[in-house]
């Protein structure tokens, strides 16, 4: 696997004279201090992330923490105040106007938080927009657009205008528009936020299937922790423009870097995201006494798949891999530890 998107020490400051304020931010002033003293808003503060090819990188954080600002750097809708953004090894800041346009046409597509649909174009024209600017044939545009409209479940609405659709439907038009250009990289800014739970879950599943098949590189912004755990290979958490933690979903849940992250993850249904292999103790290290009852579980099983069984009949859990080899044990002790809400740094809340 190779690095697809690399963001290196990026700073973004909004205001009259960002260059003047930059040193202050680099010396560690917080967003609030900078705003109070200079009237400038810190969008991003020394953010570095690497997104690997074929993975879904989820970005989380409170409102105003800089998520949308970050994602806009990747296709250079925003120029950084300092730092580097490279995609497939090309520094996007060094692209001239023409290459930038080619790059945006063929390398990445984007779903916008507030949809960004063209109010004067019908659904099918909106969905086909990416292909239209590429100068594709009309027939081909319509064929592809109809496919994508079908994929997001909007067949029958293709000749309506965005204002005639509900918020969730508009969001799906935005999604279809991004899918239509079939680019390697997809930037999705709260792409599912306006959908109802059923369609949302359906869209998440479609995205996971799409990933399994096409291995796109996705940067996904969401406010919903369950969604980020379901979709993300890695999760990055932003606070006030700073990246406070990057890690796999399990790392974020089990070892929140600070109170901010801990607060984020405190209400998650841990049994649903923790796998047996994460908390098992390897046979060599296992010292406790074995219960007479044993239950065999697959190492990739989530806790909530076997928890009810253990509650009914106390048993020692043997964790096995696909071919049935013993990988480790789980006892009540590990279970209770895994299911207890944690403070930062894994300290158990009293």
């Amino acid at each position: 696997m190779s690095t697809k998107i690399e963001i290196k020490n990026v700073y973004k400051i909004f205001g009259e004279n960002p260059a003047k304020v930059l040193p202050m931010v680099q010396e560690g002033a917080t967003k609030e201090e900078v705003l109070e003293q200079t009237g400038h808003t810190v969008g991003l503060d020394n953010v570095s992330i690497n997104v690997q090819e074929g993975e879904t990188f989820v970005c989380m954080g409170l409102s105003g923490s800089g998520k949308s600002t970050l994602i806009r750097h990747i296709n250079r809708l925003i120029d950084p105040t300092a730092g580097e953004v490279s995609v497939e090894g090309t520094n996007v800041m060094q692209l001239d106007q023409k290459s930038l346009i080619e790059f945006r046409r063929h390398k990445m597509s984007m779903v916008f938080q507030r949809f960004g649909l063209f109010p004067h174009k019908t659904v099918i024209q909106n969905v086909g927009y990416g292909l239209e600017v590429q100068g594709k044939e009309k027939n081909e545009i319509e064929k592809v657009a109809m496919e994508k409209i079908d994929a997001v479940g909007l067949i029958g609405f293709e000749h309506m205008y965005p204002n005639q659709l509900s918020g969730g439907m508009q969001q799906r038009v935005g999604l279809a528009r991004a899918l239509a250009t079939n680019t390697d990289i997809m930037l999705m800014d709260e792409a599912f936020s306006a959908l109802d739970p059923l369609i949302r879950s359906d869209m998440q599943k479609q995205l996971i299937d799409l990933q399994a098949e096409l291995k796109k590189t996705i940067v996904f912004i969401t406010h919903d922790l369950d969604e980020s755990l379901r979709l993300g290979d890695h999760i990055g958490i932003l606070n006030g423009g700073r990246l406070v933690q990057v890690g796999t979903p399990i790392e974020i849940i089990m070892k929140p870097a600070d109170d901010y992250v801990a607060a984020f993850v405190k209400d998650v249904n841990r049994a649903k995201v923790i796998k047996a292999k994460i908390i098992m103790v390897s046979p060599q290290k296992f010292k406790g006494t074995k219960n007479s009852n044993t239950i065999k579980v697959n190492e990739d099983a989530f806790l909530d798949e076997f928890l009810p069984k253990v509650c009914l009949t106390p048993a020692t859990i043997e964790v096995v891999d696909k071919s049935g080899n013993l990988k480790g044990y789980i006892t009540d002790k590990e279970l209770s530890k895994a299911l207890t809400k944690t403070h930062s740094n894994g300290v158990v809340k009293s």
Binding site: L77, F115, F118, V133, Q134, Q164, R177, T181
Partner: protein, 340 residues
């Protein structure tokens, strides 16, 4: 730039002093020597005659040079506009009046999106133009022709300027004061250079209309483009639209309601101007008002005044209902958004 900012007040002061000195040295009325000013303080009473900035002679000299050097160019413009005006006027005047009337009614019908109310109203107004006085028919056609040509000139030149302003902040900063100036100078003032450059008649009126009516169109084009939702523009950029695709595919269509509003204002101002232009011998419905005024004939002036109002209603209804339809088409809402 930064360096100069510190001294800007000093520079202004220097310019001011220079102007005063220049006024003094060029004035015929200045005292024999400066020292008299210190001994004889009577100049502090009334505004002294020598304290008079020589702008008028300067402008006149400048204008003479303009006529001598670029006379050919103005001749050309004159010839061109007069040609178009003559052709169009003769054609319309030559047509039988019912055909003209039906054409205007059809125009109103389609421009308003087949609204019967607007169409009938426009039809009545057209009929009443001739009905008020048979003489008015041809005069209204002349006035309309001048307004239409002035408008076309505004569109062809104003909209591209508006686009340039929306795209480039420097262009906007440079043009805004000029637009302010164009709008605040009393409209009469435009007529005099018009006469000198183009003689009497329709052409100075067309030029005056252009100068007077183009600013709102430029402003509203600029505003309309800049008011387009930022995320919509970002979406176009994110999918790799180039400047041309962005302009023609997204910005202009979405700015169209505002541009239509500009066109509507532009027509109204043109009509106001063309009436004033009758004072420099532009033939049209305006000279009926002038005639009534000269003869102290209240009935005549009022009748012609009513004809002008009717003409204004016709122009307004057609452009405005078309604008409303654009608004609907762009935003696809049933609710009517009033343009004014």
């Amino acid at each position: 730039m930064e360096k100069y900012k510190k001294y800007i007040n000093l520079i202004y002061l220097a310019i001011f002093v220079g102007m005063v000195v220049m006024a003094y040295t060029t004035s015929k009325y200045r005292p024999e020597s400066v020292f008299v000013l210190f001994t004889d303080l009577s100049w502090l009473g009334d505004w002294p005659k020598w304290l008079d900035f020589p702008l008028m002679p300067f402008l006149n000299k400048w204008f003479d040079i303009l006529i001598v050097k670029y006379g050919i160019m103005f001749e050309g413009i004159n010839f061109f506009l007069l040609g178009i005006y003559g052709q169009m006027k003769n054609f319309l005047v030559g047509l039988p009046w019912p055909i003209v009337m039906i054409s205007v009614i059809l125009l109103a019908y389609f421009a308003s999106g087949k609204q019967m109310g607007t169409t009938i109203m426009v039809g009545f107004c057209v009929f009443f133009l001739g009905f008020l006085s048979p003489r008015y028919w041809d005069k209204c056609i002349m006035t309309t022709t001048i307004v239409v040509i002035g408008m076309l000139l505004c569109l062809v030149i104003g909209i591209p300027i508006g686009i340039a302003m929306a795209r480039n902040k420097k262009v906007r900063n440079a043009l805004l004061p000029i637009l302010d100036l164009m709008q605040t100078i009393p409209s009469f003032c435009y007529l005099i250079p018009g006469i000198l450059l183009f003689g009497l008649g329709a052409v100075p009126a067309i030029v005056a209309i252009f100068v007077y009516a183009v600013p709102p169109l430029i402003r509203l084009t600029d505003l309309g483009i800049r008011l387009v939702d930022k995320e919509v523009i970002e979406a176009a950029e994110a999918f790799g639209a180039n400047k041309k695709q962005k302009l023609w595919g997204v910005q202009l269509p979405l700015a169209l309601p505002n541009i239509m509003q500009g066109i509507n204002q532009c027509t109204m101002m043109s009509l106001a101007m063309v009436v004033i232009a009758s004072m420099i011998g532009t033939r049209g419905i305006g000279d009926e008002v002038l005639l009534g005024l000269q003869q102290l004939n209240v009935g005549m002036a009022t009748e012609a005044g009513i004809a002008i109002v009717l003409l204004a209603i016709i122009f307004d209804r057609i452009t405005q209902s078309y604008g409303e339809r654009m608004q609907e088409r762009v935003h696809h809402t049933k609710e009517k958004v009033k343009l004014k």
